[in-house]
């Protein structure tokens, strides 16, 4: 072995999860979720099948869409609907299980058979079978195996047709194989160091377990394409699953159709994403292998002599399976760069997790478990929070390890955070469930909420990264585990209401807007915006458990304080500042009482709104001052302390007869916790002076001696007590209400309701009647009494079946259909009697033909409703 002394081999990188793990997990999540979703839909007959079955349950439960988008409040109807939908549970679950079984089987087959196929396709031969070659290479290969630290030598193969200086590692975990090109035999004599570097590179793949990971990645990708993507593309083309079976097949490929664009575009985007993630896995393994070769050979460019100097094909670096030469050299020069969390991998992770989560929700909804009455919403909120806490934690961990290894980069945590949030927003839009949803129906507020997600995730990642830096090497200890728990709480608290994004616009128009309109009744014109703002701040957080949000917000400043080696000065500055601000706020209270006229509950709510406004103003000023002098943590801590003090003071000021006299004074901290953090975030724009106290928080736990400060545990107790004030707060039974009086029940949407009735079985019943009528006309032309009799009896049966089906939900259409069925029954009965007794003299009913006429009008009304909906889309 000619390798030099391993000068770099002693430089072990800090422990951190590999970027490959994140990418591989992303790939698996995407593949599994796409497969589960596709098979759930296949089991229900595609989109049209889902619509039909759901609509049939709607019709059975008499549950129809409303004009406002607010669900029908009748719990009885929902119970019938869910009981009906739950019938889909077993077949859907079986289909999903079968789909996942096929996916895993195909992936396993591809993985296990690929070595055999490679050997056969490339006609590889074992080196041992070539005694003359084996004699020459046995010792060098044995030496390389020892250098690579492998207990067992892998099987070496020879590619007789490869003129290049290349090799490839393949096989399975239990039976790794390395193939060397014929060109390497020549290189062995010309450039031994180059030969060793290539062989060691392949052995590095064996050493790091890349073979199972990489070939599983490829196998999962291929299995997903074969098992899920292709069926998804082909299923809509099959007649039973097509929306409009009478439409020619070629029209399904019309790229101008929004539905087609989403149907095929969505799946292509997901397939492309899976491919990109797959290639990212492969590239990252190459860099890791290069780093090992550098450590083993002691050279920072072990392939120097092999540089071809020829220009390479210009493949986008995201698509290529190997990193560019420049990227390899950079990674070899600075191995710490392998630890740096990448923005692209974060984007792909966010997108994959969000798509996977949406598909999971969709599947759970299809099997009837995900609905508002069984706590499933809360469970899935926690699932979502934990799901996204994982990549945030990995980004923080890897970034901190990168920094500790000497790496320097701008926006180390912020860039991947922004990318993760962007991935979430995009994933929400490209999920296959969203295919039938048009862009125009997204709504302004939902779009705004999706655009806000990246910013919020940026802040969370930047915060988590900073805490990971403070944790230092303790990140993999119990303290790190505790931090991971806090991260989960943070994600649940800040993103737990993500499911309400989908209905943000309905929430605004149907919930918040009526509250604000009602609040506008209190006080003078100058008071109204203040009261409305306070009500909006109280209700604006749509999280179902506001204390969780408050606890998460408290963790934002409490965790850095607990981790910092010297946080005493920060706490002192924050409490002192909050004390001054409280005094100023207290001085304003008499002024408000002087200026706000009137009395009773209305005056109390106006007063409390002004007091909260003054407290928010004090928070803004306080956070700016503290941020400039003592840093961000001091600013956030100070606003919290002020909020807690204001809460207690407002309770005292508004205490009346064993309760507070204003509903706004019940949970002031619920508002002030949020506004305090917003004020602290805004204060980031204020340039800091980098005082001593802030440096104390910035130092890493590894380098600085920790000094226990009694104020920090006191802050912990304060946080717990403050959050408790949101849970256990005084009542306000006599306060002025902010809840508007109940309005009229939601109005049924005529067109949507008729469309649901049609697709839920009404249309097929009508079609039966129409066809039976046509059959009767045809039979009458033949003058064959037997055939006429059969046609009339068939018509009677179809009319009877249609009469038993629930009536259309719109009165005029229902009346029209009822009349049609009535007349058709009379006509069919007359026809039967006449056919049985041709000599009879019974007169034709006077209204003969009216049934068909009314039937036509009913059909026209249904068609008009559907056309109106399509035009709306």
């Amino acid at each position: 072995m000619t390798a030099a002394a391993p000068a770099l081999s002693t430089v072990a990188p800090p422990r951190a999860p590999s970027g490959t793990s994140l990418r591989f997990a992303t790939l698996v999540v995407l593949a599994v979720s796409v497969t589960a979703f596709v098979y759930a839909y296949v089991s229900n007959g595609g989109f049209s099948g889902i619509v039909s079955r759901s609509s049939a349950c709607n019709v059975r439960a008499n549950l129809y869409p409303t004009t406002s988008g607010v669900p029908d409040p009748d719990a009885g109807k929902w119970a019938v609907y869910r009981a009906c939908v739950s019938g889909l549970l077993l077949p859907t679950v079986v289909w999903i299980a079968a789909g996942l079984l096929v996916l895993s089987t195909v992936a396993a087959l591809v993985y296990l058979l690929s070595p055999w196929w490679r050997i056969r396709r490339s006609r590889l031969c074992r080196i041992e079978d070539r005694p003359e070659v084996w004699e020459m290479l046995r010792e060098p290969l044995q030496d390389a195996t020892v250098v690579a630290g492998l207990r067992r030598r892998p099987e070496f193969y020879l590619d007789l047709t490869g003129p290049r200086a290349g090799g490839v590692a393949f096989g399975t975990r239990r039976r790794p194989r390395v193939c060397l090109d014929a060109g390497l035999i020549a290189l062995f004599h010309q450039d031994r160091a180059g030969f060793d570097a290539i062989v060691l590179h392949e052995l590095a793949h064996v050493r790091t377990g890349d073979i199972p990971l990489t070939y599983l990645t490829i196998a999962v990708w291929r299995a997903c394409v074969a098992v899920a993507v292709l069926p998804w593309v082909l299923i809509p083309l099959l007649p039973p699953a097509r929306f409009y079976p009478k439409i020619p097949l070629w029209s399904h490929f019309n790229p101008l159709s929004w539905f087609n664009a989403r149907l095929y575009g969505g799946v292509l985007v997901l397939a492309a994403l899976i491919l990109l993630v797959r290639n990212a896995v492969l590239r990252s393994r190459e860099r890791e292998a290069d780093a090992l070769v550098a450590r083993w050979t002691g050279s920072d460019d072990p392939y120097r002599s092999l540089a071809s100097g020829r220009p390479h094909r210009r493949i986008l670096r995201w698509i290529a399976t190997h990193p560019t030469a420049a990227a390899r050299r950079a990674a070899l020069r600075e191995p710490a760069s392998l630890l740096r969390p990448g923005a692209l991998e974060a984007f792909a992770t966010g997108l994959a997790l969000q798509v996977g989560y949406q598909h999971l929700l969709s599947v759970l909804r299809m099997v009837g478990w995900y609905h508002a009455d069984n706590g499933s919403f809360d469970v899935m909120r926690v699932v979502w929070g934990v799901l996204f806490a994982l990549p945030v934690g990995v980004i923080a961990w890897r970034g901190a390890a990168f920094r500790r290894a000497g790496g320097r980069a701008r926006m180390l945590f912020a860039a991947p955070g922004l990318a993760l949030g962007a991935g979430i927003a995009v994933g929400d839009l490209v999920a296959l469930e969203q295919v039938p949803v048009a862009v125009t129906s997204l709504g302004v507020l939902r779009t705004a909420a999706l655009a806000f997600a990246p910013t919020l995730m940026l802040l969370v990642c930047a915060w988590a990264g900073r805490c990971a830096l403070l944790l230092g090497p303790h990140v993999s200890t119990g303290r790190g585990l505790l931090f991971a728990g806090v991260l989960g709480l943070l994600c649940i608290g800040l993103f737990g209401h993500v499911d309400t994004y989908a209905s943000a616009d309905v929430n605004w128009t149907e919930v918040l807007r009526p509250y604000l309109d009602h609040a506008a009744r209190y006080g003078r014109p100058v008071d109204r915006p203040v009261v409305q703002a306070a009500v909006l701040a109280l209700l604006g957080n749509l999280h179902p458990a506001p204390p969780v949000t408050a606890a998460a917000l408290a963790a934002l400043w409490l965790v850095p304080l607990l981790l910092a080696p010297r946080s005493g000065p920060v706490v002192r500055a924050a409490t002192t500042g909050a004390g001054f601000a409280l005094v100023v706020w207290l001085a304003a209270l008499p002024v408000f009482r002087l200026l706000v006229p009137g009395g009773g509950p209305e005056r109390a709510i106006v007063l409390s709104a002004w007091e909260l406004t003054a407290a928010v103003t004090a928070q803004l000023v306080l956070s700016a001052v503290l941020r400039r002098r003592h840093g961000w943590v001091a600013a956030a801590c100070g606003t919290w302390v002020l909020g807690s003090a204001v809460t207690l003071t407002m309770w005292l000021a508004h205490w009346h007869g064993g309760q507070v006299d204003s509903i706004l004074a019940r949970r002031p901290l619920q508002i002030l916790a949020t506004t305090g953090i917003i004020a602290a975030v805004l204060a980031i724009a204020v340039p800091a002076r980098r005082p001593t106290a802030e440096r104390g928080v910035r130092e890493t736990g590894s380098g600085a001696a920790r000094r226990r400060n009694p104020l920090v545990p006191a802050m912990l107790v304060l946080c717990a007590a403050s959050v408790a004030t949101i849970v256990w707060c005084p009542a306000s039974l006599s306060g002025a209400p902010i809840q508007p009086p109940p309005g009229p029940p939601p109005v049924m949407d005529r067109n949507q309701a008729l469309s649901v009735w049609s697709s839920g079985g009404g249309s097929s019943r009508l079609d039966d009647v129409v066809w039976a009528n046509a059959e009767f006309v045809e039979a009458a032309r033949t003058h064959d009494p037997a055939r006429v009799l059969a046609a009339c009896r068939h018509q009677l049966q179809t009319v009877e079946a249609a009469a038993h089906f629930p009536a259309p939900p719109v009165a005029e259409v229902s009346t029209m259909l009822s009349s049609a069925l009535h007349h058709l029954t009379i006509e069919a009965n007359w026809c039967v009697r006449l056919s049985l007794d041709p000599a009879g003299d019974e007169e034709m009913p006077e209204t003969f033909g009216r049934g068909a006429e009314h039937l036509l009008r009913t059909t026209e009304a249904l068609f008009a409703a559907r056309m109106a909906l399509l035009k709306g889309v």
């Binding site: 070659v133 290349g166 004599h189 492969l282 190997h322």
Partner: protein, 165 residues
């Protein structure tokens, strides 16, 4: 003026189990490589065997570039050997009067034809030699675009055929 080198050093791997026609092509190609790029001789026997098995893959230099878990270094070491093998095949065909073109696909088909029991060229006439030399020059130029290499290979073939007469 290029001179024919002595026989290649012994001790390097040799190809066994071949037909006489294949041996003719391999011997001629080995001599070309020994003269034009002697550094490639250690890998010749292995690639020569691969050439007889699957000439298309040897002649197509893009095969296996950037394979999964490959090194991705993408440096071609045996540059002359594949073209020398192709040139030797063309020379063989010229000597038998069967030459039909210089496209790689055509050459690959000719190599597969060598598996059958075909004759070894007998007496080499001036016309046959000149045609083989011209064919070698045309093939190398067409496949590599390197006029100097083409001339060098042609001269080597000329000398080697003269020596066999």
């Amino acid at each position: 003026m290029v001179t024919v080198a002595a026989e290649a050093e012994s001790g390097w791997p040799t190809v066994t189990g071949t037909t006489t026609a294949q041996e003719f092509v391999l011997d001629l190609a080995r001599e070309i490589v020994g003269e034009v790029a002697p550094a490639e001789l250690p890998g010749f026997a292995v690639l020569g065997e691969g050439f007889l098995r699957d000439p298309g893959r040897v002649l197509n230099s893009r095969v296996r570039s950037g394979a999964t878990l490959g090194s991705g270094i993408d440096t071609q070491i045996l540059v002359v050997t594949p073209i020398a093998l192709a040139a030797a095949t063309v020379v063989y065909e010229h000597l038998l009067g069967e030459a039909a073109g210089y496209a790689l696909r055509r050459v690959a088909r000719a190599v597969k034809g060598l598996r059958r029991a075909k004759p070894v060229p007998g007496e080499i006439t001036d016309e046959a030699r000149d045609a083989a030399v011209a064919g070698t020059r045309a093939l190398v130029r067409e496949q590599t675009g390197d006029a100097a290499l083409a001339d060098k290979c042609a001269q080597v073939v000329h000398l080697l055929l003269d020596r066999r007469r």
